[in-house]
C-alpha cells in the first residue's frame, strides 16, 4: 500500500510537466498575445513590453523557465493582473471554488444516495419512477439553463434570494449557485446508487445476511451500501477535482470570484503564467483525487488489494 502511494505520487511529477508543456505549446500557437488590444500599439511600446516579460528571448530559454517554475510551483506574476502573483490568485480563488464545489457535492451526495437507495429498494415503484425521472431531468438540464431559471424564480420574481455575488460563507448568496451546481451530480449519484444497489441487493452475501436474520436496516446500511456505493466512489474522484477547481459556467452566472472565472479570463487574455499555474493546479488536483479514490477502494472493497 505505502509503496503504491509513493509510486503514484512520483508519477504525478512527469505527468504535470507533460500537461504544462502541452498547454504552453498551445498558448504559443494561439493567435494574439496578452498586450494586443483594440488599437495597435506603437512598435516601441510593444518592444518595451516584450523586453519586460522576457518574450524577446529564444523559445528554449522561455520553455526552460516555464519548466523550472512548474517544478518550484511558482509561476511568478500574472501578465494581466500585474500586481498579483499567480500563487496569490490561486490562494484567494481556490477557497471560493472549493466552498461552492464541496457544498454542492455534499448536497448531491446526501440527496442522491438517499433517493438512489430508496429507488433500488422498491424498484418499479412510484418513488422509483419519480426520482429517476427527476434524475433524468437533472442530467439533461444544463446548468446554464437551470441557473438563470432559478434566478428568475427566486431572485427576480420572488425577491427571496440575491441573484448573484459572493458574500462569504455562510450566506444566502450561496444557495442558488450551490443548487445549480449540484443538480447534475445529484442526478448522477442517484442513478449510480440505484444501479449499484440493485446489483448488490441481488448478490449472495446479502442473501446470507438476510438469512442470518439481520434487520432490513442493518442489511442495507451495513452490508449493501458498502458495495453499492463503489460506482459512486469512482465517480467522486474526478467529480470532486472538477468541482473544487472551479466551475466556469456557474461562477460566471453568479459572479463568484473563484478559479473558474479566472481560468476563462486567463485564456481570453493569453495570460501565460496564470493559465499554466491553473492548469498545473488542476492536473495535480485530478491526479491526487484519483489516487485517493484508489486508496478508498482498498478500504471499501475487501476484494481489492495493493
Amino acid at each position: 500500500m505505502f509503496r503504491f502511494i509513493i509510486r503514484r505520487l512520483l508519477v504525478t511529477v512527469p505527468m504535470v510537466l507533460i500537461v504544462v508543456s502541452l498547454t504552453w505549446a498551445l498558448i504559443r500557437t494561439a493567435p494574439g498575445n496578452f498586450y494586443s488590444g483594440e488599437k495597435k500599439l506603437p512598435a516601441a511600446i510593444e518592444k518595451n513590453i516584450r523586453a519586460k516579460y522576457g518574450l524577446d528571448q529564444p523559445w528554449y530559454k522561455q520553455y526552460a523557465r516555464v519548466m523550472t517554475n512548474t517544478l518550484r510551483l511558482d509561476f511568478g506574476n500574472s501578465l494581466r493582473y500585474e500586481n498579483e502573483t499567480v500563487n496569490d490568485i490561486l490562494k484567494r480563488t481556490i477557497p471560493v471554488s472549493a466552498t461552492i464545489g464541496l457544498l454542492a457535492y455534499l448536497l448531491a451526495l446526501a440527496v442522491g444516495v438517499t433517493f438512489g437507495t430508496l429507488a433500488a429498494l422498491k424498484p418499479n415503484s412510484k418513488l422509483d419512477y419519480v426520482s429517476m425521472a427527476l434524475a433524468m431531468l437533472g442530467i439533461s438540464l444544463p446548468n446554464f439553463v437551470l441557473g438563470p431559471l432559478l434566478v428568475l424564480v427566486f431572485a427576480l420574481s420572488l425577491y427571496w434570494l440575491p441573484p448573484a455575488r459572493w458574500d462569504g460563507f455562510p450566506s444566502w448568496s450561496l444557495v442558488l449557485p450551490v443548487l445549480t451546481l449540484s443538480a447534475v451530480y445529484m442526478a448522477y449519484i442517484a442513478r449510480l446508487t440505484r444501479s449499484g444497489m440493485l446489483e448488490v441487493l441481488r448478490s449472495d452475501y446479502i442473501r446470507t445476511a438476510r438469512a442470518k436474520g439481520l434487520t432490513e436496516k442493518d442489511v442495507v446500511v451495513r452490508h449493501a451500501l458498502r458495495g453499492g456505493l463503489l460506482p459512486v466512489v469512482s465517480f467522486t474522484g474526478p467529480a470532486l477535482a472538477f468541482l473544487v477547481t472551479g466551475t466556469v459556467v456557474v461562477e460566471r452566472i453568479f459572479a463568484m470570484p473563484g478559479l473558474g472565472n479566472y481560468f476563462i479570463n486567463a485564456n481570453l487574455n493569453r495570460d501565460e503564467p496564470l493559465i499554466l499555474g491553473i492548469v498545473a493546479f488542476i492536473s495535480i488536483a485530478v491526479l491526487i483525487a484519483n489516487l485517493l479514490v484508489d486508496i478508498a477502494y482498498g478500504f471499501i472493497d475487501p476484494r481489492i488489494r495493493y
Partner: protein, 664 residues
C-alpha cells in the same frame, strides 16, 4: 476599434439566459426597471466592468480601470461630468496656453493633498510623467503623452546625436528635409525649428512663467532622436537613407527622463512643452495616465503599492478594500482639496462581466448603476429602452464605411454621393437599437461644435446622380443594370453586429438603387492590413473610438494619404491645410468653427459613408443624481450623490444638451 472580447461561452450563456428571462419579461415592470429603493446613507454601488488589470493608473489602459482610477486619483484637470471637457482640478484653472498651443502652464492649488496628507506639488506631476514614460514600466498607453517634447524619444529608449568635435546636436529638421516630399504631406509637421518661442499668452494668465535653464533647452531647435538599439537604427536608416550620413561618426546621447518637456517651474507651477501645437492636449490630461501618483509609496513598496493599507492616492476617494472579481471599496479622502464638495461617503465597485448577471443585480436593487453597453438588445426591444432609467445618449465613437476612391466606379464623386443618399439612417439606427443615426463623421457630442449638415436620405436624388454618371438606358432613364455591381462590395471584419449592419445597407441599396452589392467578411488582423493597403473594392467598414474629446480625433484620421487608419485613398492638401489652420487658432470657438468647415468640405468629397453613432446603453436608478450618460461613460465621482427625497428623483434621462449640473 472593435469593442469587446466575447467568448462563445459568454454568448451561449447570454443566449440561454435571455431565452429563460424572456418569459418573465422585463417589460411588465412599469416605468422603471425593477426595485427602486434608495440605499441608506451616501453609498453608491456601481458595476464597473472587468476586474481592473491594476489599480496603478499608469499601467492599465482600459475603461473598467479608468472608472476606478477616477475615484482614487486626480489630475491637473478632470472630465466635466456631462461634456467630458477638461475642467480644472488640481490645477487652479485651465492651462494658460501660448499663441500656437504648443506650451501650457498650469498653476496648482496650494491645498491639494495625497490621501496620507502630504501636499501635492508640481514636482509630483513631473515625477508622474517621468515614471509613466519610463521604458521599463512598459506602459501600454504611454503614447498618449507623445505630444510632449522628447516624450516619445525617452519612452522608445532613443538617443540624441551629437557631433563630438563641435558638441552640436543634430536637429530633427535636418533629417526631415532628407525625406523628400513626405514632410509636405504630413499636416502636423513639427514646428519650424528655427522659429523663436512666442511667450505671449493667448488665454488666461497675465504673465508667463519665468524663463529657466530648462526652458531654454526645451526651446532649442528640436533635436534628432534615433533608436539607441543598433538593429532598430539600421531599420531607421533603411526608411530614411539620409539619416545614416547624419548619424555615422557621431556620438549617441541617450534621451533622459529629465529631457522631456515637463518642468516644475516652482513648487506650484507646471510647464508642459509640446512637440507641435495640439489644442486638444489639455483634454488628454484627464486620462488616468496623467493622474498624479505617489512617489513615496511607489518607491517604498514597488509593485505592491496599490494594495490596501499601503495605497496612497490623490483623488476624492481612497482605497479601503480590494477583493479581485468581487469588490473594490473606496471611501472619502479627508485630505482631498475639494473634500467639502464630495457627496458620497463610499463607492462599492463590483467588477463583473456577464451582462445578464449585472442586470439581474440591477433589477433586484443590489446595485444602483451599471456601465455602458450592458443592456442586451433583446431586453431593450422587450421594453427596457422606453424605461425612465435607461441612459440612451451618443458616444465618442463613429461608425462609417471607407470608400476606395482609387478604383472605378467609386472614383466618381457622383456615384459615391448617390450611394450615400440611398441609405435610410433613421431606419438603420432603429434596426440597430443601440445607435443614433450618423449623418456626419464627428458624433454629436461636442456642444460647441457647429456640426455641418451632411447629406441625408434622398433615394430620388441618388438615382438622378447615377443617371448623370452615365448609368441610364437609351431613353435617358436610370438603369441599374448598367452599373458594374461586381466591382463593389461591402467589406467588414468578422463580427455579428457588423454583418447585420452590412446586410441592412445592402438591402437599402437594393431597394432604392436596384443594385445588389455583395458582402465579404475578413478576420480582424488581416482586415486592418487589407483596408490600410486599399486591397478592397467598394466599401470597407470602420469603427472609430475617439482618443480624446475633440472633433480632431476623427478628422485627423484622413490627413495621412498612405497607411494608417485612412483606408480611402482620399487625401487633400486643402483639407489638411484647413485642419492645420484650425489647430493653430487660439480662440476655442473659432477653432471649432474652422474644424466644422473642414468637416463639411470632407463630407462633400464623400470619401466615406457615415452610418451611425453608437449609444451609451446603460441604466441608473432614479435616486442616483449627478451621474450622466456622457460620451465616454467616465464619471467624476465627486458630483454623484444619492437623493433620498422621492420627489426629486429623475423622471427621465438627464438633459445632455446643456452642460448644467444637478445641484443638491
Amino acid at each position: 476599434m472593435s469593442k469587446k472580447n466575447s467568448s462563445s461561452l459568454a454568448a451561449l450563456l447570454l443566449a440561454s439566459a435571455l431565452l429563460v428571462s424572456g418569459c418573465g419579461g422585463p417589460a411588465a415592470e412599469g416605468e422603471y426597471f425593477g426595485r427602486m429603493e434608495a440605499p441608506e446613507g451616501q453609498v453608491l454601488r456601481y458595476i464597473s466592468g472587468s476586474e481592473p488589470e491594476s489599480l496603478d493608473p499608469q499601467r492599465s489602459s482600459g475603461q473598467p480601470e479608468a472608472r476606478v482610477h477616477m475615484a482614487l486619483f486626480d489630475g491637473l484637470v478632470e472630465y466635466h461630468p456631462k461634456t467630458m471637457e477638461p475642467i480644472p482640478s488640481i490645477a487652479e484653472s485651465r492651462g494658460e496656453i501660448d499663441e500656437d498651443a504648443s506650451e501650457y502652464v498650469f498653476r496648482l492649488r496650494k491645498n491639494a493633498r495625497f490621501s496620507n496628507g502630504d501636499p501635492i506639488t508640481a514636482h509630483d506631476f513631473v515625477y508622474t510623467m517621468r515614471r509613466g514614460l519610463k521604458p521599463e514600466l512598459a506602459s501600454r498607453v504611454a503614447y498618449l503623452a507623445y505630444e510632449i517634447k522628447y516624450a516619445q524619444g525617452y519612452n522608445e529608449a532613443g538617443s540624441f546625436v551629437r557631433d563630438p568635435k563641435t558638441g552640436r546636436f543634430v536637429r530633427a529638421s535636418e533629417a526631415e528635409a532628407a525625406k523628400e516630399g513626405e514632410a509636405a504631406a504630413a499636416p502636423a509637421a513639427p514646428l519650424d525649428a528655427e522659429e523663436s518661442h512666442k511667450s505671449e499668452l493667448a488665454r488666461g494668465g497675465e504673465s508667463a512663467a519665468p524663463d529657466t535653464e530648462f526652458h531654454k533647452f526645451i526651446h532649442e531647435p528640436t533635436r534628432l532622436v534615433v533608436p539607441s538599439d543598433e538593429a532598430d537604427r539600421q531599420k531607421a536608416y533603411k526608411a530614411n537613407p539620409k539619416l545614416k550620413s547624419l548619424v555615422e561618426g557621431k556620438e549617441l546621447v541617450p534621451v533622459r527622463a529629465e529631457d522631456i518637456g515637463v518642468e516644475a517651474v516652482d513648487d506650484y507651477t507646471v510647464r508642459i512643452t509640446l512637440e507641435r501645437p495640439a489644442p486638444y492636449f489639455e483634454g488628454l490630461l484627464a486620462h488616468q495616465f496623467f493622474r498624479i501618483v505617489p512617489k513615496k509609496a511607489i518607491e517604498q513598496y514597488g509593485n505592491d503599492w496599490v494594495k490596501p493599507g499601503r495605497f496612497i492616492g490623490s483623488g476624492a476617494f481612497m482605497l479601503a478594500e480590494h477583493k479581485p472579481y468581487n469588490q473594490i471599496v473606496v471611501t472619502r479622502n479627508p485630505y482631498y482639496w475639494d473634500a467639502a464638495a464630495v457627496k458620497l461617503d463610499k463607492i462599492v465597485f463590483y467588477p463583473l462581466e456577464e451582462q445578464t448577471t449585472m442586470l439581474n443585480l440591477y433589477k433586484t436593487g443590489e446595485v444602483d448603476a451599471v456601465y455602458n453597453h450592458t443592456v442586451p438588445s433583446s431586453w431593450l426591444k422587450a421594453g427596457v429602452k422606453k424605461m425612465r432609467d435607461y441612459m440612451d445618449a451618443p458616444e465618442n465613437t463613429s461608425e462609417f464605411y471607407n470608400i476606395n476612391i482609387t478604383k472605378a466606379p467609386m472614383n466618381d464623386l457622383r456615384v459615391r454621393r448617390a450611394f450615400n443618399m440611398a441609405i435610410d439612417r433613421e431606419g438603420l439606427a432603429a434596426f440597430k437599437v443601440t445607435a443614433k443615426p450618423g449623418v456626419t463623421l464627428v458624433p454629436h457630442i461636442f456642444l460647441k461644435y457647429p456640426r455641418p449638415k451632411g447629406v441625408d436620405f434622398d433615394p430620388e436624388g441618388a438615382k438622378k446622380l447615377l443617371v448623370e454618371a452615365g448609368y441610364k438606358d437609351a431613353s435617358g432613364k436610370y438603369d441599374p443594370k448598367k452599373f458594374p455591381a461586381g466591382d463593389v462590395e461591402i467589406n467588414y471584419n468578422t463580427n455579428e453586429s457588423n454583418r447585420q449592419t452590412a446586410e441592412f445597407v445592402q438591402a437599402q441599396w437594393k431597394q432604392h438603387l436596384g443594385i445588389t452589392v455583395s458582402l465579404r467578411n475578413v478576420e480582424w488582423k488581416t482586415y486592418l492590413d487589407m483596408r490600410s493597403k486599399r486591397e478592397y473594392k467598394g466599401f470597407a467598414r470602420a469603427g472609430w473610438v475617439g482618443d480624446y474629446m475633440d472633433p480632431y480625433t476623427y478628422l485627423g484620421i484622413f490627413t495621412t494619404c498612405e497607411g494608417g487608419d485612412n483606408g480611402t485613398g482620399w487625401c487633400d492638401p486643402k483639407f489638411n491645410k484647413m485642419l492645420q489652420e484650425a489647430n493653430s487658432e487660439p480662440d476655442e470657438q473659432k477653432r471649432l468653427d474652422m474644424l466644422a468647415q473642414a468637416e463639411a468640405y470632407f463630407l462633400n468629397q464623400q470619401p466615406v459613408i457615415t452610418l451611425m453613432i453608437p449609444a451609451t446603453n446603460w441604466m441608473k436608478k432614479p435616486y442616483v443624481k449627478g451621474l450622466y450618460p456622457n460620451p465616454g461613460t467616465l464619471h467624476a465621482w465627486k458630483y454623484v450623490y444619492i437623493e433620498h427625497d422621492r420627489a426629486k428623483w429623475d423622471r427621465q434621462m438627464p438633459d445632455m444638451t446643456t452642460a448644467e449640473l444637478a445641484e443638491k
